[in-house]
């Protein structure tokens, strides 16, 4: 069997899994699953770009996803009335001051002669800058957060269509990636891993704490949709007629219609990203990336700018993660900073990339769809398994209750086992790199 046939077979099997889910558990479930699967596939392409093409070990995917989510809020929510005049400009001014402090410190580092004077000057700039920043920043934050804290209490967004937020989310993530890449790339691969792990936690901490920006743990809800609302569809006589004409109940029809509309949008993005990634992979640029990955010293000897190329691909991959994050927040219509968990948003994506086949974009897509399907399905399967195991036990026994209650925790175990097994027995993944 040729590679192409095998790949088609894999995707056909994936389609069977989704269709099977639709037939047994309803099309709503299947479409929800598929929507998230497509977003996961985009995430996996982003990580695959970094790991598969360039060998960069980024475990801060969660941070870039969350920044994308923030992008959705900043673009599409209506601005809070009076927030900008109350303290918004002050906050922006303070942020510019903060950035200026860091730039000044960097300039001092670069321009001054090495020695105690330089260290002291840099420290003085940073410390004075920090207190000035806080002095300007804090009153602004207080003023903004005082505006109707139960309903808004944040700056709000720009009231633009939410679709614009997708590229904007990518830009936000790219900006963060530039900062982190500038500092951590070029060091050992483990250090990049720790640095990205750290930046992800910090991004989440910022989202949780800076109420003026993202309402913190109060969450931003009701982010506008790019697709119609179910309730409007159900009141639209034309839609109800068509639904009944197809033999569907209008409520079910409307939910499926909305999910399907999302799916079309997501698939368009997936195809664009996939096409771009494929073009990149097969271009001279892609070959150079792989040459750098396989032997950095040799590539450097050939005159390739290893650090610059790494920074480039790191930013590109993170931007894709940011786009996927914005799409995810759009799908949920809300930003809940507490829901970002590293196991779910970083490490699961890594399982997708490794299982799918690192270095192969189609592998990443397959891995994204398949692992997401498993992630959702392991819970009911685990519960069924536990019920089977405990069937012989007397009702009300503590062990039985514990086992059944713990079935929900099966997910991590299964994902870890899958990752370990694939790494051991098929380290190149389902669709290996050519």
């Amino acid at each position: 069997m040729t590679d192409t046939n095998r790949n088609i077979l894999y995707f056909a099997l994936m389609a069977v899994l989704i269709v099977g889910t639709g037939m047994t558990q309803g099309w709503n479930v299947a479409l929800t699953l598929l929507n998230m699967g497509v977003i996961s596939a985009i995430l996996a392409i982003g990580v695959n770009l970094q790991w598969g093409f360039a060998g960069l070990f980024n475990i801060g995917v969660m941070g870039f996803v969350a920044l994308g989510g923030l992008g959705a809020v900043l673009v599409s929510m209506p601005p809070t009335e009076g927030a900008w005049s109350a303290g918004g400009f002050r906050i922006v001014g303070a942020l510019i001051l903060g950035a200026a402090t860091i730039v000044a410190a960097v300039i001092a580092q670069r321009r001054m002669a090495k020695g105690r004077a330089r260290t002291l000057a840099t420290l003085a700039i940073l410390i004075v800058g920090f207190f000035v920043f806080r002095a300007v920043f804090d009153p602004g934050v207080e003023a903004v957060e005082a505006i109707n804290p139960a309903g808004t209490g944040y700056l709000g967004g720009m009231n633009l269509p939410v679709l614009i937020a997708w590229p904007v989310g990518g830009l936000l993530a790219a900006g963060a990636a530039w900062v982190i890449g500038k500092t951590a790339l070029g060091l050992r691969s483990d250090y990049l891993a720790i640095a990205t792990l750290g930046i992800a936690e910090i991004v989440i901490a910022v989202l949780k704490n800076e109420d003026w920006l993202s309402r913190g743990v109060k969450n931003v809800i009701g982010i506008p949709r790019p697709v119609p609302y179910e309730i409007d569809l159900q009141q639209d006589p034309g839609f109800v007629d068509r639904a009944t004409g197809l033999g569907l109940d209008p409520v079910t029809a409307s939910t499926i219609y909305v999910k399907f509309a999302y799916l079309i949008l997501f698939v368009i993005v997936l195809l664009i990203v996939l096409w771009l990634a494929q073009r990149a992979l097969n271009s001279p640029w892609g070959r150079m990336m792989r040459a750098i990955r396989d032997n950095e010293t040799a590539a450097e000897a050939m005159g390739k700018d290893v650090k610059g190329r790494h920074l480039q691909i790191f930013i590109l991959g993170s931007a894709i993660c940011g786009v996927a994050g914005a799409m995810m927040t759009t799908l949920d219509s809300q930003l809940t900073p507490t829901s970002y968990q590293p196991l779910r948003f970083t490490f699961l994506v890594w399982v997708m990339v490794i299982v799918g086949g690192s270095g192969n974009n189609f592998g990443a897509v397959l891995g994204g769809l398949l692992i997401w399907w498993l992630w959702v399905m392991v819970e009911p399967i685990g519960l069924g398994l536990m019920e089977l195991i405990t069937a012989g036990m007397p009702d009300g026994s503590a062990l039985k209750d514990h086992l059944i209650a713990s079935a929900a925790q099966m997910r991590l175990l299964t994902m870890g086992l899958i990752l370990l097994l694939v790494l051991r027995f098929s380290p190149r993944g389902l669709i290996p790199e050519k």
Binding site: T183, D190, Y191, A405
Partner: protein, 336 residues
């Protein structure tokens, strides 16, 4: 009097908590640094190893409590600790046999081992959640304070109380014993010396007849002891929650890298550097400054440099500074 009050407040809210936290981080960082030195990879499963060890200890503690065995004023968990260490050592040896050895024989790249450790992390995390659940568990028993804040106030007549918690003292004593044992082992015993030789130069160590599998096995057992102790001490001091232990990974790695990966002394220093910076930067200094500064200068706000949720940002910032200016860490570790 005010100066004394300020000092007591400082000791009570900054110094002692940071000291205990630093000791816990140091123990964790020692484990990471040992694995790095001997097995040459960054073990991302370390936080979950700590969680597993703590979980095993908690289960034995519950058993002891049910039977009625205790240590009086000391927490029962101390009695259960050796059992926790044994269980963790068995788990780690099994993991090594089932997972890591394959890649060691293959001489796989370190980054592959890091990814493998990610898989192990998933599995361990799943096992812990499966057995003990995801809730906060408080398993500290015995006497809570050696000196409570009120007793201290009555004894000294100061306005501020200095509460010395049993767990803080236990943390310091246990950590000191563990570190002393570790250094004695590494410097004085034959096995310890062969471990250091293996870490310094693998080929030379192999040539001189050191059995690598034995070195690796001993390393895992020591790591199990360190990780379990660190986890149990942290859990006694605060509480046990699987997810918190996973999050400890960042400060622990920061401590190990700041000290210099592969350097045990560096890991200890790094642990305290990270702990003290985290606590001083996220502590609200209003109280201390209120005593020290004259009336008109007294601060209105909390004088908190960063809110407590940014403690990760602190370890991270220190990490970045060290990486930029001294990538081998304070104590010249192995990494480039």
């Amino acid at each position: 009097m005010d100066i004394l009050n300020a000092l007591v407040a400082f000791l009570n809210f900054v110094f002692f908590p940071a000291l205990a936290y630093g000791a816990q981080l140091s123990l964790g960082a020692l484990g990471v640094t040992l694995i790095y030195g001997i097995l040459r990879f960054s073990n991302f499963a370390h936080g979950d190893t700590m969680a597993f060890g703590t979980m095993a200890t908690i289960l034995v503690t519950w058993l002891f409590q049910a039977v009625g065995i205790g240590l009086g004023p000391l927490p029962t968990a101390l009695l259960a600790l050796p059992f926790g260490i044994a269980a963790t050592a068995l788990l780690l040896l099994f993991t090594d046999r089932a997972v890591y050895r394959f890649y060691r024989v293959q001489k796989a790249k370190p980054v592959i081992l890091v990814i493998v450790s990610m898989g192990v992390m998933f599995v361990m995390n799943g096992v812990v959640r499966f057995i003990i659940g995801v809730n906060d568990i408080n398993f500290s028993d015995g006497q809570r304070f050696i000196i409570s804040a009120r007793d201290f106030r009555e004894m000294t007549g100061l306005d501020e109380g200095l509460a010395i918690r049993t767990t803080s003292l236990i943390t310091l004593v246990t950590a000191a014993i563990a570190v002393a044992l570790l250094f004695w082992f590494l410097n004085k015993t034959r096995t310890g010396k062969s471990m250091r030789a293996f870490s310094d130069n693998e080929d030379l160590a192999l040539l001189s007849g050191i059995n690598p599998e034995r070195v690796v096995a001993v390393t895992w057992i020591i790591v199990a002891a360190l990780a379990t102790t660190a986890g149990v001490l942290y859990g006694l001091d605060k509480s046990f929650k699987a997810f918190t232990y996973f999050q400890l990974l960042l400060p622990i790695f920061a401590a190990a890298i700041v000290g210099g990966l592969g350097s045990p002394l560096g890991a200890i220093a790094g642990g305290f550097v990270i702990a003290f910076s985290e606590v001083t930067i996220t502590y609200a200094w209003k109280k201390v400054l209120g005593y020290v500064l004259p009336e008109p200068l007294e601060p209105d706000g909390l004088v908190q440099l960063l809110s407590t949720d940014y403690k990760f940002a602190v370890s991270f910032a220190i990490l970045i500074v060290v990486l930029l200016f001294r990538p081998t860490g304070l104590f010249r570790g192995q990494s480039v």
